[in-house]
Amino acid sequence: MGAIGRKIRLVFAVAFLFAPALTAAHVGQGDVSGGFLAGVKHPIFGFDHVIAMVAVGIWGAQLGPPAIWVLPVTFPLVMAFGGVLGGLGVPIPGIEIGIAISAIALGCMVAFAVRPPLWVAAVMVGVFAIFHGYAHGAELPDTANAISYAVGFVVATGSLHAFGILLGVANRWRAGARSLQAGGGLIAACGLYFLVSHFVAA
């Protein structure tokens, strides 16, 4: 207790003072929940994104520190940069192919538990992050509330990384490590499917 206890009590006292203001806050400024949900749905309902994001998390966990935090810290930033390119309509050909290849490559890295130097992993993930960000950016809606969309979008993508890292905890046990590698193989197979179906459709 002591200083921290006093501090916390003070904060709660202030919070209660503000409670009446918050309960009266039916101002409805902007469409916060709508934009947020649209942003969350976008990465989560695109299965090609989901498997690649989870693969980033698992691979980070396999590589261990410092990759386990370098990858999730840099990925959102690079992806947002790709989103800017996509949003502004800068032409980059073969985005869908790049995304399918990212799933194949990252899936293979996990399947064979490849341990390249950190910068190789970072560059590889960074390049793929631009592809993913570009695809999202090109489909960014002209939403009334751009920021709640972006919040939902980044939180969903980051949560997929976190999910992959959590799965990666299994890497400590021999059976867990084998399961992760099998999962990586599955991800690579899905990526191959997306690649083939892209060419078949084209």
């Binding site: 200083a3 501090k7 904060v11 999730p72 947002a80 800017v84 960014l140 920021i147 972006a150 980044v154």
Partner: protein, 207 residues
């Protein structure tokens, strides 16, 4: 009492004074209290303000005790910026500057760079003024600025101090992944800012 405790006490006192002022005036009309709360709610109901407020608090909490004063500097700059909006004409691009504050604060958190306190305080003043200005622009003739502006200051102080105390508390814990989680949060905040700039930039290009 040291560090965040002392700072929280100062913030609490400042808030009490701000609230006491409205308490006295609340006897005249209900609406006068309403203007203070309108000032509180105006930044709080817009994520483009809340997010940088939180980010500054996280940054100050991450940087450690000498940085804690930046939060109060920021809150006071909010008030100054809102006052400026009473005199000056609307500044174009102030919304972009506000979104840029998310990118800069978020990027600094992600980098975990021990930035000089002077620089942090300067950023707090610059973006405090810009956010205050944007909120002050909402003041119409019917709104009492002397109530609305303290409301903005209170909102900024509460959000940033909360975030700072939370991060200060989290970083004192044992698990080594917690500092990394704070950096990841910074990276998310910066990414959100970049995406919003892209969406807004495209809207401007299209128009």
């Amino acid at each position: 009492m040291k560090g965040p405790g002392k700072l929280a006490l100062h913030a609490g006192l400042a808030l009490s004074f701000a609230l006491a002022a409205t308490g006295v005036l609340a006897h005249s009309t209900v609406k006068s209290a309403g203007d203070f709360y309108a000032g509180v709610l105006h930044p709080l109901t817009a994520l483009e303000h809340v997010l940088p407020f939180v980010a500054l608090g996280v940054l100050a909490g991450q940087r450690g005790q000498p940085a804690h004063r930046a939060v109060l500097i920021f809150a006071l700059s909010l008030g100054a910026g809102a006052c400026l909006a009473l005199w000056l004409k609307p500044v174009p691009g102030i919304a972009m500057l506000n979104i840029a504050s998310s990118i800069i604060f978020g990027g600094l958190i992600a980098s975990a760079w021990a930035l000089p306190i002077l620089l942090l305080n300067s950023l707090a003043i610059l973006f405090g003024l810009s956010h205050g200005f944007a909120n002050g622009e909402a003041i119409t003739k019917e709104i009492r600025a002397y109530l609305f502006i303290p409301g903005i200051v209170a909102a900024g102080a509460v959000v940033a101090v909360y975030a700072m105390i939370a991060v200060d508390y989290v970083l004192r814990r044992k698990p080594t992944w917690l500092p990394i989680a704070v950096r990841v949060a910074g990276s998310w905040i910066a990414a959100i800012g970049i995406l919003v700039l892209a969406i807004s930039g495209r809207a401007i290009l299209k128009s």
